[in-house]
């Protein structure tokens, strides 16, 4: 029995499997306690580092919905982060700093961009989808570069963090961290619900075998489009948080290399598992920080590491931890 269960793809694992709760509970507990490290090290540095982890975990979760569950290899997801960030930045620059308004603007603009580009991109398949999402990502990048009124390629410094009902609660780094963490938890639970719903099953079915899904009467296109929009909006949320945290936005948020980083996070962690996306984001941000403290040429170590992971650890980090192969 065990062998059969192990060989079954992740999509068919029984939902009541309690052991599957261990990884997410551990992950969130670790993150919630992470600021305690501030007791031994420089407080603000630790908080800023883990806030970054949480923000990129949100973005990676967003990408995992499209990439892991939907099989949509988007090579332009950094654009959604950038658009969310710019929405917050531009509104702040024009004197609006209500957090709810900024958040709404970030979600609306990134969602709209995802809808428009997704509607076109999803007409293509495979490699062409990778390339067309890359093209749209580059367009967003160059448009941001040409926004002279908002700093052009230098970027835009935000005068202040946004306010909640007129009070600057988010200015406190600790509060901001826990707000971000709460958003990550909310996104995680939402993504989990989406994946397990009927909608999610159609999405995964279309990834496994499009012909079969079509044969039982589903057109995958609208399902994929909705998944792409949700995915883009989650990345937009991450962009909003990133702009707030660094109090700065710049076109560098949406380079194609950043899109590559997001794919790395999802793949390293283990695709289509949600837990893996969070794990991957944590791993990439922390490894980058650790290695760059060790040598400025940390990429010389990280690059070959990626190659080795692809060649030898096909289930990602989560696969190594749990002995399961996902995706």
């Amino acid at each position: 029995m065990q062998d059969i269960a192990a060989s079954m793809p992740m999509t068919q694992v029984a939902p009541r499997d309690r052991s599957r709760l261990i990884v997410p509970v551990l992950l969130f507990a670790t993150l919630a306690l992470a600021p305690l490290l501030g007791l031994v090290g420089p407080d603000r540095y630790v908080l800023a580092l883990f806030t970054r982890c949480v923000i990129f975990a949100i973005a990676a979760l967003g990408l995992d919905l499209a990439l892991g569950s939907g099989g949509l290899v988007s090579f332009g997801h950094a654009a959604f982060i950038g658009i969310g960030a710019y929405a917050a930045g531009i509104l702040t620059a024009s004197g609006i700093d209500d957090a709810f308004l900024l958040l709404f603007a970030a979600l609306a603009t990134s969602g709209f961009f995802a809808l428009a580009t997704g509607a076109i991109s999803l007409k293509t398949r495979g490699v062409h989808f990778i390339m067309i999402t890359l093209a749209f990502g580059q367009m967003a990048y160059f448009v941001a570069n040409s926004l002279k009124a908002y700093g052009g390629d230098d970027g835009l410094t935000l005068a202040n963090r946004s306010t909640i009902f007129g009070r600057d609660l988010l200015a406190d780094h600790r509060v901001f961290f826990y707000v971000s963490l709460a958003m990550l938890l909310a996104v995680y639970l939402f993504a989990r619900a989406v994946v397990r719903s009927r909608f999610g099953r159609v999405l995964r079915g279309a990834k496994e075998n499009e012909t079969r899904i079509a044969a039982i009467g589903f057109d995958p296109y609208p399902f994929r489009l909705v998944a792409f929009v949700i995915s883009g909006m989650i990345a937009g949320l991450a962009g909003f948080l990133l702009a707030e945290q660094s109090e700065f936005v710049s076109p560098a948020f949406m380079t194609w290399q950043r899109s590559g980083d997001l794919i790395i996070m999802v793949m390293l962690g283990g695709m289509a598992s949600l837990d893996g996306a969070i794990l991957g984001a944590l791993f990439v941000v922390l490894t980058e920080e650790l290695l760059s403290g060790f040598t400025e040429h940390w990429r010389v170590i990280f690059g070959p590491f990626l190659v080795l992971v692809v060649l030898f650890a096909r289930g990602g980090l989560l696969g190594l931890l749990t002995g399961r192969r996902h995706g």
């Binding site: 007409k123 067309i132 093209a135 367009m139 794919i263 790395i264 990429r299 190659v307 096909r314």
Partner: protein
């Protein structure tokens, strides 16, 4: 816009197009025949430039430097193929993207470690350093014309190689149906290696040729890689002819767009709006072109696969 300016920008566009073709030709063959996405192709172009600069420093001879750069690019390409890439041919595109992304990180950073972040320059040969008068009021650097000529020359050579030799026949057959070629008894592994070697040499050649006119620096291949992908997607994956035409198209559209977008928009919009929108439009023009081509002809303009 004057005629002279238009002529100069057209030549600049051709030069970018030729450069893109040299990079895209290898990329499209590797992609078309082996179904392999090689993001590290841009880094191989960068290696060509660095090899040329290093070889020139050692020999003080331009021609020798180019030849040594070609040899170096070939060796580096084959080493990568044997060590990493051949294990990825049968794999998912996503695995290929991730692994070759790792190779880019490594190569860019390794070059930064060895040569530093500041850009290097390679002096151009004395004979080619002048300018030539193409028409009244139009001086154009000789070296840039040489780059255009060399690119077109390599294009012709590649055309002959692909269309009129036995190995070219296998390449074309591989681009249209690789498993069938293998089933007919061709050593597909060796064919892949040859194609990969040619691609690496072409990218290295492009890097070496532009070393005297572009800044030689880490990451110099990153943006050209993306442009090369735009080229092969527009041209049709696996088609050298498509890559040639699309490369010239992209080179011209990009260069002319950057020079004249604001001027053209000024006829339609107010002057300040045109100055705002011009640069944004110019830099996104080729991506709009690519998205449009993919939307109407998803397989590109000259698909290699039937």
């Amino acid at each position: 816009m004057s005629t002279a300016l238009l002529a100069v920008q057209t030549l600049n566009g051709l030069q970018l197009g030729v450069l893109l073709f040299l990079i895209a030709a290898g990329l499209t063959l590797v992609f078309g025949v082996m179904d392999f996405i090689n993001l590290a192709h841009g880094a191989q172009y960068m290696l060509g430039a660095y090899f040329a600069v290093t070889a020139y420093g050692a020999t003080q001879n331009f021609l020798l430097a180019i030849i040594l750069a070609l040899v170096g690019a070939l060796a580096a390409g084959l080493a990568l193929e044997v060590a990493i890439f051949r294990h990825l041919y049968g794999r998912d595109h996503l695995d290929q993207v991730l692994a070759t992304f790792g190779v880019i990180l490594f190569l860019n950073e390794a070059v930064r470690m060895i040569y530093g972040s500041t850009s290097l320059a390679m002096p151009m040969p004395e004979v080619l350093s002048g300018s030539i008068r193409l028409m009244p009021g139009l001086l154009y650097p000789v070296y840039r014309l040489v780059v255009i000529g060399a690119g077109i020359g390599v294009g012709l050579l590649l055309h002959v190689l692909v269309n009129h030799t036995r190995i070219g026949m296998l390449v074309r057959a591989g681009a249209s149906n690789a498993p069938m070629v293998s089933a007919l008894g061709v050593n597909i592994g060796r064919l892949f290696m040859i194609i990969f070697g040619i691609g690496a040499m072409l990218a290295g050649f492009a890097g070496a040729m532009v070393a005297p006119i572009f800044a030689v620096e880490p990451n110099m291949g990153d943006n050209l890689l993306i442009l090369a992908f735009v080229v092969i997607v527009i041209g049709g994956i696996g088609s050298v002819r498509g890559a040639f035409i699309a490369a010239l198209l992209v080179g011209l559209v990009d260069t002319l767009g950057r020079s004249f977008a604001s001027d053209i928009l000024r006829h339609m919009l107010s002057s300040s709006a045109a100055n705002q929108a011009g640069p944004a439009l110019a830099s996104t023009l080729i991506y709009v072109l690519m998205a449009a081509v993919l939307f109407f002809k998803p397989a590109g303009l000259f698909p290699a696969r039937a």
